[in-house]
Symmetry: C2
Subunit: 264 residues, 2 copies
């Protein structure tokens, strides 16, 4: 399905989830390793990816791997491996810099093969996220926006009340971000599984037009059932798989649990 380059990232994800029978995105995250152990870390990431790929539709990589391993060639090799195994690859860089820097960041990640980037809409459009969206469109890649994160402190920023710059009155920050996701034609939004009520509210705004990626299931305490019932499209699962004694078994168990609840 990766050949279908006429598809945009959003459609590729939908097709891939259907083809693989899984809406799970593997967060390939590992604890800090001493720099001298980065060979061990690389092989561990490779091993988990090889074991788990039949049970997930995409892999999400974060700084847990990018910082110790570097992109070229190590993380790029993992992205290539993911593609070879039929997975899409998302870079969770939560990009939030000025436009010229965002452009450089996107250029490096897209050059290493990532199919989509995660960005923080707080940075705004003009000289902010615009260059990333434009580059992604040009290359057939995706941009996923943070709308409500999975941690406690998310309340402080994502959950704050702001003055609606368009219509006046008060509006929660996350609903303003959901509106931006529609306006900017984002390929997805992130809403933490730890906040099912927020998933529901965001889902009502997006109305099926932008899929919801939900992290925080498992170690962070999010519940699969409530996340799905509230409108999550994809579940992002990390440590419940990567730190398991048997990552493949854990991934398969979570996949079965999800598939018993959802029709892909």
């Amino acid at each position: 399905m990766l050949e279908a380059s006429e598809l945009n990232f959003k459609d590729k994800m939908a097709e891939n989830a259907k083809a693989k029978g899984s809406n799970i995105v593997l967060a390939l995250d590992f604890p800090y390793e001493k720099p001298e152990n980065r060979g061990i870390l690389y092989r561990r990431a490779e091993r988990v990816l090889e074991a788990v790929h039949p049970h997930v539709c995409a892999v999400k990589i974060n700084h847990h791997l990018v910082l110790p391993l570097g992109i070229f060639p190590s993380v790029k090799n993992l992205v290539d491996l993911a593609h070879d195994r039929g997975l899409l690859a998302i870079m969770d860089c939560k990009v939030n810099d000025v436009g010229s820097t965002n452009q450089v960041i996107a250029d490096y990640y897209f050059a290493s093969g990532f199919d989509a980037l995660i960005a923080n809409p707080f940075v705004g459009w003009d000289e902010g996220l615009q260059p990333i969206f434009e580059t992604a469109r040009k290359l057939g890649r995706g941009v996923i926006l943070l709308v409500y994160m999975s941690h406690k402190g998310a309340e402080e920023g994502y959950g704050q009340t702001v003055i609606d710059p368009e219509f006046g009155g008060q509006i929660p920050q996350y609903l303003l971000f959901a509106r931006k996701a529609l306006k900017w034609n984002a390929d997805g939004v992130v809403v933490g599984a730890t906040y099912p009520e927020r998933i529901r509210e965001v889902s009502n705004v997006l109305n099926g037009r932008v899929p919801i990626y939900s992290p925080g299931v498992g170690v962070q305490g999010g519940d699969i059932k409530s996340a799905l019932e509230s409108g999550a499209t994809y579940l992002i699962v990390g440590r419940a798989i990567t730190l398991s004694d048997n990552p493949a078994e854990s991934a398969e168990r979570i996949k079965r649990a999800v598939n018993a609840m959802v029709k892909l």
Copy 2:
């Protein structure tokens, strides 16, 4: 001055600026280079750092170098070089992830020798920035918070009006962030030189207790004089130096211009 490990980052910066006779932070940023040219990029960064170090008090590194070069060993070598030349090193990662990930990010950057990290206060404290601040304190490193960025779209997020969660009523986002910088005892805040009026307002809140780092001078259009008069403590200068035909000469010229206006 780098031996004085009993000093916190904020005090180290102040001492270093005085000792070097410069309040300029060099943003060691370069345009996108093809991955196969990363050797050239490394040598270019090294050359600019060697040429410019007499005229600046610190170097700020961003993803322009981290992504193509990797931290270990390349960026770490540049940090070592900066230290050898008497500069402090700031990583502009604009970290904005959940706490456990922020912790891993901070661990890798601090392991590579960076003296301070830049973080986005939007992520909040609980399970957000708390682990970074705690790790920084333990290691004698610093955390600098984004309060108002230098690009046009900064108005959208940093410039929005929010409901004050403590006292009620309306307050600009950036003043809420300035208040967090005081509450969390940040080692600095970033306010774009392109918005001198914002520098002044933030300076009034911080009242000299937290220094203001101001990027956006030069290529982005910020004016040195108005940034300094409005309360900027350090000027972050990147492309006006790194893309110059003669980086040392450009840095020296800017330093002289600054020093004619400010008493360090």
